[in-house]
């Protein structure tokens, strides 16, 4: 796959033209990965516990997202500045979500004890 990164016809004009083979290949990979993620989430033999299955599902989703970004969205062939600002937004999402999770986790014991007190 990565051998086609350079040396492809860049002379077609304003931006890189994705080959038909690559488009179909990426599409096929996305469909296969969708089937794989459904199987790992529903079949009993792939039940590794809630946490492990969440990680598996997120890894598959991230591989799919990377395929879409790098090939369908041309980020691999584009000016790298576009990739940079996109990765930058993901960095801020990561900060936002992780800090929010750490913060809210701090009040859970207080909430839990209040719920238990009300229940009594």
């Amino acid at each position: 796959m990565s051998t086609t990164t350079h040396g492809h016809a860049q002379d077609h004009g304003l931006s890189h033209v994705m080959s038909a083979k690559m488009l179909l290949g990426v599409w096929g990979a996305l469909i296969v990965l969708t089937v794989v993620t459904v199987i790992t989430a529903t079949q009993p033999m792939f039940n590794f516990g809630a946490y492990a299955n969440l990680v598996i599902a997120m890894v598959i989703a991230t591989v799919k997202a990377s395929l879409v970004c790098l090939f369908f969205m041309h980020l691999l062939y584009d000016r790298k500045f576009n990739l940079l600002i996109f990765m930058g937004s993901l960095l801020f999402v990561l900060l936002f979500v992780s800090f929010s999770m750490m913060d809210t986790a701090q009040y859970q014991p207080a909430i839990q004890s209040r719920v238990e007190a009300q229940a009594q």
Binding site: L14, L23, A61, A65, S100, A105
Partner: protein, 267 residues
């Protein structure tokens, strides 16, 4: 952009009278790259916009995993998976419409745009079926959450008339606001759900609803592009709008790629 930049005095490299080159750009390449940077800035704004809901999801799931493990079983994995495939196919045709425009394959480009629009409508149609089902069965957000049956039990418990029971019960606790505990305290006669199960459906409808609005916006953009394509506005030197719309459409696909496992495939 569409109006010919009359009397372009900045023309360099012999493109001075290119009708597609706006006067404030030096070259078609610079114009294209600027537009692409613009659409990417819009897309990262979209990522941050959606991240608020992903953050809500992460916070609630981390603190109350039992709600998600219970409530996701109300969702239909098959419909979700089919919708994922439909969006992936529409992403393929969107990407191919860019290729066709770049290579000057006008009929193929128009065909790809039409299929993209058709897939978008297909996605919304399946989404409508899912939403209608949830409205019918009381699988809704906040205080509207009033399930007619337990997950997996296709309404056979409806004979117990849990609706009336739940209302009588919430009447008792009417003085305590936010007493969603009634669902739990219900006992044997009605559907027992973990405390605050309605939060799952609040998040579900907020996330899929916002995503659905983006699909509708994508349809509007692509219908507009189809109109312009039929007028013959696009070609190998003039396909920026096709490219940028496809980038937006891929982002809508990206959001769904995460929404599908997060909402439907919990275990």
């Amino acid at each position: 952009m569409s109006t010919a930049a009359a009397h372009n005095h900045h023309g360099e490299e012999g493109h001075g009278h290119d009708p597609h080159l706006a006067h404030h750009f030096d070259s078609p390449q610079q114009q294209f790259d600027s537009g692409k940077l613009g659409i990417w800035l819009f897309l990262i704004q979209e990522v941050l916009f959606f991240s608020g809901l992903f953050c809500a999801y992460a916070v609630y799931r981390a603190n109350h995993p039992e709600i998600f493990e219970f409530a996701h079983r109300y969702l239909d994995v098959t419909l979700g998976a089919v919708n994922t495939a439909v969006l992936i196919c529409s992403s393929l045709t969107a990407a191919w419409s860019v290729r066709a425009a770049q290579l000057g394959q006008r009929k193929l480009m128009i065909g790809c745009i039409v299929v993209t629009i058709a897939c978008a409508f297909g996605f919304l149609g399946i989404k409508y079926v899912e939403y209608a089902h949830k409205f019918h069965d009381g699988l809704l957000w906040g205080e509207k959450f009033n399930p007619k049956y337990a997950p997996g039990g296709h309404g056979e418990e409806a004979g117990h008339s849990p609706t009336a029971d739940a209302e009588g019960h919430s009447g008792q606790h009417a003085t305590a606001p936010g007493a969603t505990i009634t669902q739990e305290a219900a006992g044997e006669a009605k559907v027992t759900t973990p405390r605050n199960t309605s939060i799952f459906f609040s998040i579900y409808f907020a996330m899929t609803g916002l995503h659905g609005l983006h699909v509708i916006a994508g349809i509007i953009v692509y219908v507009w592009l189809l109109w312009r394509a039929l007028k013959g506005e696009f070609g190998p030197k003039q396909y920026a709008a096709i490219d940028f719309a496809a980038l937006y459409w891929h982002l809508v696909d990206l959001v769904w790629i995460y929404l599908f496992p997060l909402l439907y495939l919990i275990r």
